[in-house]
Symmetry: C2
C-alpha cells in the first residue's frame, strides 16, 4: 500500500484547507457515512464519492486504456453515457489486475471502490508511460457547488480528506500527460431519463457495482468466471450470487438468504432440533429487544458486545425515552427471567433453546454467511444444579455441532477449547468446533458451546437452596451454545469449485436433476414425448422413495445449457435420459463432485440413486477430511511457523497457553510474514491467532511436562494448540 | 370516570405552575415516558411516579384500611418497609374492588397503576367517612428536590400534570381527615440493602406489579382466581402467566413465549409449512432491516405503517448516517429484489415465504399474543403472470388458514373479504378468517390473505414481456399473506376455563399426564414402586405410538396438587393409576375439557387413549362452533343492532358496503351504546366495525338486488356483512 503522506503534502500545496480525518476502516459507502457521522471536524453537507475504473473492449495486444470515473457515491455511473461522451464502445468495469498493476491499489479496491482505497489521487501512482492511456471522467454535479467539500479516501480507507471543486480540478490538472479529462453530467445521461431503466437503477446500492459487473459480462454471468485458486474472494461471491444461494441487500452487511441456502438451514434446523430435543431441551422465544439496564448487567460480557450493538431510539415519529438494544446474543435477555423462574432446586435443570436472528453491527468488512450484521442461529441456554452436569452438556452439544458439520455438510471440524483470549466474553470456558478453508489456509470458528460457570448466575441472582437445607445456597451452573448460518458459508467454501456450487446431497433442495438429452430436430414428436414422459416417471419413482428429484423439461434450452445451469446450482447428481438410453432401458448418471459418468439400469433405479447419493455424501467428507489432515502441520520450532502458514496450513504447536504469549505470536507472525515472504496481493498475510486446544491431543508426540517447551516463548508447554490465520 | 377539571382547578389554587399536557393514552410507564418524550412543554428532569394501593390483612367484617403509596415509577414499593413504617402486617396490593369502590378509579388502574389513572388526586374521590381509614405514604426521594417537577396522571391516562414537592405536600394536606401521612425513604428500606433481595427487585419493571400481586397471593398463585365470565381481562392474564404459556418482559409490549406456547407455534408451523410447500412455495429469509427509501416507496402502504415503525439510529457509539427501519411487514423489503429476479415470464410464478418476526410499535394497550410490539408470523409473497392465478392462491391460502384454526386449534372461523376501510394498506382486496371470542362477544381478525393486484408491481417495477411478443409488457399480479402468534391467544380465549389453560390435543406438548394416586402411608414400598413402574410402562407404551405422554412421579406432592398443576397447564387427558386400578388392570382417565371420568383397561390402552384424544379434539371444535353459530345473529333493522352487540353477539346485516356508511355505523353504535345501555366497567362498550363480508352468504334470507336495504343508511344492500366489536 502506498503511503499517503506525500499525497497529502501535494494536496496541501494545491490549497487543501481541511485536515484529514483518521478513522476506522470503511469498506463500503454505508460504513463510510456512518464513520464520518460519528467523527468530529467533518465539514457539513460534504459529498461522498466513489471512484471506478472502466475499460473499453480492446485486443489483448494493445495497452490497457483505463477510464477513471469520479462520481457521487449514490449515482449510477452509466457505462453507456461514459462511452458516448468518450467515443468508446463496450465499456465495462476493469478487473482487479488493472487496479493493482496500473493504479497500485490493493485488494478490495475493485468492485468495492465505493468505500475502498481507490480515489483520483491514485493517478499519482500511475507510471508516466501509462498516463497517456488514461482518461478521467469527473461527475459535473460534484463540481457545481464551489463551497461544498468532496470526500475521498486518499489511498487508505482509514482516512478521509475533504477537498473543494477547485482543488479536485487542480489536482487532476497537475497530473501531466493524461489522455483526456471530461466533466460529465450524469443526471442527464440517457438511462436516467427512461423510466423503466431508472427504476432498475434504483436497485439497492450495495448490489450496484456487482450488478454492473454482472451486466457488463452479459451472458457470461450464467457461469463462474473467477477461479477458486487464483481469486478466492471473487470466486466465492460469484458462486453464492450466481447459484442463487444469496443476494446482496440494500442495508450494508445484510444479505438475502434465497431458497437454496435457506433449505440448507432448514435441514440443519431439523437435525439439530431433533438432537437437542432428545437431550431434553425445549424451544421458546424471547423478544429481540433488550432494555439498556439489562444489557449492561454483566460487565465483561457487555464490554465484548457493546461496540456492535444496534440501538432503537425512535418509534413512528416519537423519540423513545430510553434507547432499546437489539439482542447481539440473549444471555442478558433471558437470565433475569431465569432468576424469577428458578426458585428451588426442583426447577433445575432449566433447558431452553431458541431459533432466532441476532444483530451485531460490525464495522469489519462483511462476508456473506461468515460475517453479517444480522444472522440466523440457535442459542441454547441451560442452568444446572451442578458443575458436572453443565460441563457434560457443554461437550454433548459440541459433539452434536460436529455431527451437523460432518454428517450434513460433509465438512470436517476439530473439537477443541478456546484460549483465554478467544473465549466467550463473560464465560468460564468456550469449547469450539473449528473448520478450515483449504483455498485460503485459514481457520474458521464453526460453532461454540460455552460453560458459563456461575458468572452469570451470580450477576443475575439465579440461586436455589441446596437440597440439603444445612448447606449454603447454590448459584446455578450455566451453559450457552450457538450455531449459525455461518455453517453454510463454510460448506460452500469447502466443496464448491470453478463450475459453481456443490451441495452435499443431505442438504440439497434438489438432489437429482433429470434432463432429457440426445434429442434433435430429427427425432419425432413421439420420441420427444416418450423421453419427457420417462423423465417424469423417473422423477415420480424417486420422489416416492424420498429422493428430492426434479425434471428440467424447459423448451428452448439445450441440454448443455441445462447441465451448466444445474451444475452452477450445486445439484449433486444429474440423470440424462435420451432415446438411446430408453432403448437400453437405462439412464446416464453424472456426479457433480467428480463428473464421473455411469449408466444406471431403469430397473432398480431407486436403490442405485440412493446408493450414489450416499456415496457422494460420504466421499465429500472423506476428501475434505484428508485435505484438512494434510494441512494441519505439527510445528516444533518458531522458524517453521510462518512458512507453514504461508503454505496455507494450520500450525499445531506445543504451547504455554499464556495470553501474553498469544499476543506475541500474533505480532511476531505478522511481522515475520511481512519481512520474509512476498506478499500475496489477494490474500494479504496476517497474524496467526489460536484456533483451539484440540480435545484430541496428538498421540505421536505427547507433551512431556517440564520438558516440552512453547515454540514461541520457550516456557513450559501445557498442550498442543492449533494456530492459524483465520476468518 | 371522574372528570378532572375540578381537580385541575384545585391544583391551580394550590400553586400548580405548569399547564397539563394532553396526550394519547399511556397504559404503562414505558408508554408514558415515550409519550412525554415526544410532547412539548414537558419540564426537563421531571420524575415519573406510580401510585399503588396496599391493604393489610384484616377480618372481612372490618372496614377496608387502604394505604396509598406514591413513589418513583422505577422504585420497588417494598411492602415490608411500608408495613414496618406504619406498624401494619401482611400488606399486599389491594384488588380492583378497593380501587373502584373507594377511589372511584376505573379498569386498568389496579395492577397497571404505574401508567394508569390512579394518582394521589384520587383522594379527592374518597367519601369523607372512608378517609379516616386511609393512610398515605410519600416517597421521600420525590420530595427532596424542590425544583423538580413530579408527573402524575390526574385520573386520566391521557393527561399529565407536573407539580412540585410543595404542591404535592399541600394537596395531601388539603385532604381533611386522613388517618396518617408518612414520608418514607425507600432507598434505605431493608430489602434494598440485602444483595439477594435487591437483585430480585431488579426484576423487569413491566412484570413487577404482577409479580408483587402473585407473591402477595402466596400459594393461591398456583391456580386461577379470576373468573372468565366476570373479569375476562384478568382471567386471561392469569391463565397465560400461571400456565407458563407466557411471561411479561421488561420492554413494554413484548412478551416471552415459554415452551408451552412455543410448542403450539411449532405445531402450527409444521402444518402450515407442509401445506404451502405442497403448493409450491419455497422458504427464504430477508433481512429485518429496511432502508428508509425502500420503506417509503409505496405511499398508501407506508401511510398505514409509518406511525408504528421502530427506527435504528445508532450502532455501538456512532450515530448512523441514515436511520434504518425494522420491518413491520416485508413488502417493501422484498419487492425491489423481485424486480431484479423477475426478468421474463419464465421467472413467474415466484413464490416465497418466510418465518420471521416483525415489529409494530403500537401505542394502543398491548395484549399478550393479540397485540404485541414484536410478534412471530409467516409472510408469503407471490408474484404471478395472471390475475386468476394470484386470486386462486389468495383463496387457497385462506382455506389453509381456516384449517390451521379448525383442525389444529379447534377454533371455528368465518372466511370472508374485508371492507375497503379494513383492507390491507396498498392492496386491492384482503380476504380474512375471522374468529370470535364468546366471553367478550368480540370478533378478532385471525389471519389475512391479500390480493395485491398490480399496485406494488407497478411501484417496484416487477414487469415482464408478454409471452406473446406483440403484446405490451405485463406487471406481475401479487399476493401476500400472513398468520401470526395471535392464533395462540384466540385458542386460549376460546377453550380455557376457570381451572386454567385447556389445550387441544394436537397442539399440546404433553397430551397425557400420568399421575399415581390412591397411595398412602399404609401402602408398602413395593406397592408404591409397582404403581410408579406401571406409570412409566404406560408412558412408554403411549410414546411408542406417538402419544406425547409424561408421568408425574414427584415426591412430596399430593395427587390433588398434581391434578390442579396439570389442569392449570392445559394437559388434555389425565390418567390416574393406583393400587386398585392395578388390581382391575385398568387406569382412570379424566378429560380436561369435561372432567368426565372413565376407566380404561390396560389391555389396548394405546388405542383407547388415541381415540379419546381425537374425541376431545373434535368435541372442542364442535362446541366452539355451536357457540359461534348461536352468537352470529342476522339483524334486519338498526334498532336491534346495538342490543345484539350488547348481548355479546356479532350482527350479520344487509349492507351497502360504502366506507362512509361503515364510519356512520361505528359512530352511531358507539353513541347508542353509551346512551341506551348501562356501561360494563370491565368491557366498556365500543363502536362496531365490519369484520368481513362472509364468502358463504346466508342462504335463508338472500339479498334481493334493489329491494334489500342496508339497515343503517337505507341504500341498496349488496351483501351481508358481519359487524361487531372487535380486538
Amino acid at each position: 500500500m502506498t503511503d499517503c503522506s506525500a499525497l497529502i503534502a501535494k494536496l496541501e500545496a494545491l490549497g487543501l484547507g481541511d485536515a484529514p480525518i483518521e478513522h476506522v476502516a470503511a469498506e463500503n459507502v454505508e460504513q463510510w457515512a456512518e464513520v464520518l457521522a460519528g467523527a468530529s471536524g467533518v465539514p457539513p453537507g460534504h459529498a461522498l464519492t466513489k471512484t471506478l475504473i472502466f475499460k473499453p473492449k480492446q485486443p489483448k495486444s494493445e495497452p490497457v486504456a483505463p477510464v477513471m470515473v469520479v462520481i457521487r457515491s449514490d449515482t449510477n455511473a452509466s457505462s453507456k453515457a461514459i462511452g458516448q461522451a468518450l467515443g468508446l464502445k463496450d465499456l465495462r468495469l476493469a478487473n482487479e489486475d488493472v487496479l493493482s498493476e496500473i493504479f497500485q491499489t490493493s485488494r478490495g479496491s475493485g468492485k468495492y471502490a465505493t468505500g475502498g482505497r481507490l480515489s483520483p489521487f491514485a493517478l499519482g501512482n500511475v507510471a508516466p508511460d501509462h498516463l497517456a492511456n488514461v482518461r478521467v471522467v469527473l461527475d459535473k454535479a460534484l463540481l457545481g457547488d464551489s463551497a461544498r467539500r468532496i470526500a475521498f479516501h486518499p489511498l487508505t480507507n482509514t482516512r478521509t480528506v475533504f477537498v473543494d471543486a477547485a482543488c479536485l480540478r487542480a489536482f487532476v490538472a497537475s497530473v501531466a500527460g493524461l489522455k483526456q479529462v471530461v466533466e460529465l453530467d450524469f443526471d442527464a445521461a440517457p438511462e436516467a431519463a427512461a423510466p423503466a431503466a431508472a427504476a432498475k437503477a434504483k436497485k439497492p446500492a450495495a448490489a450496484e457495482e456487482d450488478a454492473a459487473a454482472d451486466e457488463a459480462t452479459g451472458s457470461a454471468r450464467l457461469g463462474i468466471e473467477a477461479s477458486k485458486d487464483k481469486d478466492f474472494a471473487k470466486w466465492y461471491r460469484q458462486v453464492i450470487l450466481r447459484s442463487e444461494m444469496l443476494d446482496n441487500y440494500s442495508v450494508s452487511g445484510c444479505y438475502i438468504l434465497r431458497p437454496t441456502s435457506y433449505f440448507v438451514w432448514e435441514e440443519i434446523q431439523k437435525f439439530l432440533d431433533a438432537g437437542i430435543r432428545a437431550m431434553g431441551v425445549r424451544n421458546c422465544y424471547f423478544p429481540m429487544f433488550v432494555a439498556e439496564r439489562d444489557l449492561n448487567k454483566e460487565k465483561d460480557h457487555i464490554e465484548g458486545f457493546a461496540p456492535e450493538v444496534a440501538w432503537v431510539t425512535r418509534a413512528g415519529s416519537s423519540e423513545m425515552a430510553a434507547p432499546i438494544a437489539i439482542r447481539p446474543t440473549s444471555e442478558t435477555v433471558m437470565y433475569p427471567y431465569y432468576a424469577n423462574w428458578i426458585r428451588s432446586w426442583r426447577d433445575l435443570p432449566l433447558r431452553l433453546n431458541q431459533w432466532n436472528s441476532v444483530v451485531r453491527w460490525e464495522f469489519k468488512n462483511p462476508q456473506p454467511f461468515l460475517r453479517t450484521r444480522e444472522f440466523l442461529w440457535q442459542e441454547g441456554h441451560c442452568a444446572y444444579l451442578t458443575r458436572d452436569e453443565a460441563w457434560r452438556e457443554t461437550l454433548d452439544i459440541l459433539a452434536l455441532y460436529r455431527r451437523v458439520y460432518e454428517e450434513l455438510l460433509a465438512v470436517p471440524v476439530v473439537e477443541g477449547v478456546k484460549s483465554e483470549k478467544e473465549k466467550f466474553a463473560g464465560g468460564v470456558a468456550t469449547t469450539t468446533v473449528e473448520g478450515f478453508i483449504p483455498a485460503t489456509g485459514r481457520g474458521i470458528q464453526a460453532g461454540t458451546s460455552h460453560y458459563l460457570g456461575q458468572n452469570f448466575s451470580k450477576m443475575f441472582d439465579i440461586v436455589v437452596e441446596d437440597p440439603d437445607p444445612t448447606k449454603p445456597k447454590i448459584h446455578a451452573h450455566q451453559t450457552s451454545w450457538g450455531l449459525s448460518t455461518r455453517a453454510i458459508g463454510v460448506m460452500v467454501m469447502t466443496h464448491s469449485d470453478d463450475k459453481g456450487l456443490l451441495l452435499p446431497p443431505r442438504v440439497a433442495e434438489t438432489q437429482v436433476i433429470i434432463v432429457p438429452s440426445g434429442l434433435g430436430s430429427k427425432n419425432t414428436p413421439e420420441e420427444h414425448k416418450r423421453v419427457a414422459d420417462t423423465c417424469l416417471a423417473v422423477e415420480a419413482r424417486l420422489r416416492r422413495v424420498g429422493v428430492r428429484a426434479a425434471s428440467d423439461l424447459r423448451d428452448g434450452y439445450t441440454p448443455g445449457f441445462k447441465f451448466s445451469h444445474w451444475e452452477l446450482r450445486g445439484v449433486p447428481l444429474r440423470l440424462e435420459i435420451g432415446p438411446r438410453d430408453l432403448e437400453k432401458q437405462s439412464v446416464l448418471s453424472v456426479r457433480r463432485d467428480t463428473f464421473e459418468k455411469a449408466p444406471l439400469p431403469l430397473d432398480g433405479l431407486e436403490t442405485a440413486v440412493e446408493l450414489m447419493l450416499h456415496r457422494i455424501q460420504d466421499e465429500l467428507l472423506i476428501r475434505a477430511r484428508a485435505t484438512m489432515k494434510d494441512r494441519i502441520k505439527t510445528v516444533m520450532c518458531w522458524d517453521d511457523f510462518v512458512p507453514t502458514l504461508n503454505r496455507k496450513c494450520i500450525a499445531q504447536i506445543p504451547w504455554c497457553e499464556r495470553e501474553e504469549c498469544e499476543e506475541q505470536i500474533k505480532a511476531r507472525s505478522t511481522r515475520d510474514a511481512l519481512q520474509d515472504e512476498p506478499e500475496d496481493e489477494k490474500e494479504p498475510s496476517m497474524g496467526a491467532k489460536s484456533l483451539c486446544l484440540p480435545l484430541q491431543q496428538p498421540q505421536d508426540h505427547p507433551i512431556v511436562p517440564g520438558q516440552t517447551k512453547c515454540i514461541q516463548c520457550g516456557q513450559d508447554a501445557k498442550r498442543y494448540a492449533l494456530f492459524g490465520r483465520s476468518y
